[in-house]
């Protein structure tokens, strides 16, 4: 029978939740980590399959931000959170982007502490490069095309462990932090959704919906909330805490091309290729995407070319991603439980979307692509000249998606605007910490997971120092 009272409760077991949970449990503190989804560590769920979508994705992957255009997004909802479903690419935030955060949110990041945190995270999740002989052709082709155009392109390291024959195992939270957390004596409760929380007699009381349908209450002195950019603000809104919550949501909208080559570039189980074009970053990045036959089929159907699917081994999917200046919100609708997400691209973002599509097309043609099928109801393109017609397609016809969402409860120095202090706790209640992508000040312009983990680590270390002093 699980106890009901803890010193610390962490809500969510994604990277932002696991980092403080492990640090605090390893210091001997009494920690409960609560996860809404199930634990599939022992089960063999194929990557990028429909089973994985059903089991590990929030709402089985059917989530969208309403705006012009609608942007589909995906979030993890299982033990390990987003780390279980993403491609495992590791980035550090560029210093120019960090400077922008500091100016925008009146905040300062100690570069030495941040670098130490990144180094520790790199060790914890074994950030490494793919063995050279395992790099997929689809990825090398992007490098070739970029080289030919004189654009910067490089392999992005991933949190993977490779054995002697080059087989990789993603070092997601279920493989790394969660076992460490349990080993350190932390309690881990899965299939448990925190519906609301409130403060009673200086303790936080969480109302938790268990798998068996029962409601249970758990209490703690300190609360770390790590439900992700959508569900962290939604939990606050459900709990009646609304000031500055859920505003400023940001994301990395992406557009995809399915590229047809005159050679085989794809194999069953190829996974995610690892090169990214960084010539135009931070505004625009480009890279390879999951290219399994079913996903290619979906993309081809957008342009009514599903009949070409038998040629899938000559095809791969590539994306262009922008770093937008627009923003969105997370709200609750009357009579509905699911959070309602909106996101509106700015005029500049829309220009960048079209620019990013043209740049991606250029590099793909340079890489040897003979035809590009856009993720839109437009026709396919077979030359750079034809590609310019993309400008005539209304933005509402482009199918955009993202897996990077952040900044819905930003850290910042102005308590009238930012809900979270530069140390990661709420301005209105210093015993509640936000430890996930919601706390990021703005777009990190790269995959956010490394930065979330590094900042979560810094904040957890500050917390340990603080409660050490308090005790």
């Amino acid at each position: 029978m699980l106890r009901k009272d803890f010193k610390i409760i962490v809500v969510g077991s994604g990277p932002g939740g696991c980092v403080p949970a492990v640090l605090l449990a390893e210091k001997g503190l009494d920690v409960l980590m609560i996860e809404e989804g199930s634990d599939f560590t022992e089960e063999n769920v194929s990557e990028f399959s429909t089973t994985e979508m059903n089991l590990k994705y929030r709402n089985a992957g059917l989530t969208a931000a309403i705006g012009n255009p609608v942007i589909n997004y995906a979030e993890g909802n299982c033990a390990g959170g987003g780390s279980e479903i993403n491609s495992g690419l590791f980035h550090e935030i560029p210093d120019s982007t960090l400077l922008g955060w500091e100016k925008k949110n009146s905040i300062f990041f100690n570069r030495g502490e941040l670098q130490n945190a990144y180094s520790q995270v790199r060790k914890d999740i074994n950030v490494s490069y793919m063995p050279q002989d395992k790099i997929p052709i689809a990825s090398s082709l992007l490098q070739d095309g970029s080289d030919s155009l004189g654009w910067k392109c490089s392999e992005v390291p991933r949190w993977f462990k490779y054995d002697s024959d080059g087989t990789g195992q993603k070092q997601s939270m279920s493989q790394t932090f969660i076992p460490r957390f349990k080993e350190a004596g932390g309690e881990f409760l899965v299939n448990a959704k925190v519906e609301t929380f409130q403060k009673i007699n200086k303790r936080h009381v969480l109302n938790v919906h268990l798998k068996n349908g029962m409601m249970e209450s758990f209490s703690c002195d300190y609360l770390f909330i790590s439900g992700g950019a959508i569900n962290t603000p939604a939990l606050f809104l459900r709990s009646g805490i609304k000031k500055n919550i859920g505003f400023g949501l940001n994301m990395h909208p992406s557009f995809k091309f399915t590229a047809l080559f005159d050679q085989e570039v794809n194999l069953p189980g190829m996974g995610v290729p690892v090169h990214q074009v960084k010539e135009f970053s931070p505004e625009i990045s480009m890279g390879c995407s999951i290219s399994s036959k079913p996903f290619l089929g979906l993309a081809l159907n957008d342009t009514n070319n599903l009949n070409l699917i038998n040629n899938w081994r000559n095809m791969a999917s590539y994306y262009s991603m922008i770093c937008p200046t627009g923003s969105g919100r997370v709200r609750l609708l009357p009579f509905f439980k699911s959070p309602f997400v909106t996101f509106f691209l700015s005029k500049e973002d829309k220009i960048n979307i079209y620019r990013s599509i043209i740049l991606l097309g250029k590099v793909l043609f340079e890489s040897g692509a003979i035809e590009l099928f856009p993720s839109s109801s437009a026709k396919s393109f077979s030359s750079v000249e034809e590609l310019m017609q993309i400008n005539n397609i209304p933005i509402s016809k482009l199918n955009l998606m993202t897996i990077h969402l952040f900044s819905s409860m930003q850290m910042g120095g102005n308590k009238n605007v930012h809900p979270v202090t530069p140390e990661g706790n709420l301005w209105s209640d210093s015993s509640i910490y936000i430890s996930d992508s919601s706390m990021l000040c703005d777009s990190p312009s790269v995959n956010p997971q490394g930065t979330i983990m590094a900042i979560a680590r810094m904040n957890a270390l500050n917390f340990l120092e603080r409660i050490g002093n308090e005790i």
Partner: protein, 105 residues
């Protein structure tokens, strides 16, 4: 959304794309997707689904589920170009194609 309606849609969409597959497995996947989708989206999808089933009476003088396969496909092609219905059919097509191709792999 009842099973008969879902199966009718699956058969029609597979046939539109000259595909064949295990309809029960696709229907199970579709059912689980509908069950898990955000509640406000589910409300929209269900409303449009019921509307489509009923509105085919005005086009084909029968509920969608009671039509011949060729008439079902014709109805889908008519409604697919209309606002809201376009989103509805894109959702169904995506789910059905994704699962059907996965089953083939």
């Amino acid at each position: 959304m009842n099973q008969k309606f879902q199966i009718s849609l699956i058969e029609s969409i597979l046939s539109m794309h000259d595909m064949s597959s295990d309809i029960d497995k696709i229907q199970n996947f579709l059912e689980s997707q509908i069950k898990k989708m955000p509640d406000f989206m589910k409300a929209g999808i269900l409303f449009i689904g019921y509307s489509f089933n009923v509105l085919t009476i005005f086009v084909k003088f029968k509920f969608f589920t009671n039509l011949e396969l060729s008439s079902k496909i014709h109805s889908i092609l008519i409604f697919k170009s209309l606002p809201f219905f376009k989103i509805f059919f894109r959702f169904f097509e995506s789910i059905i194609i994704l699962k059907a191709l996965e089953l083939k792999c």
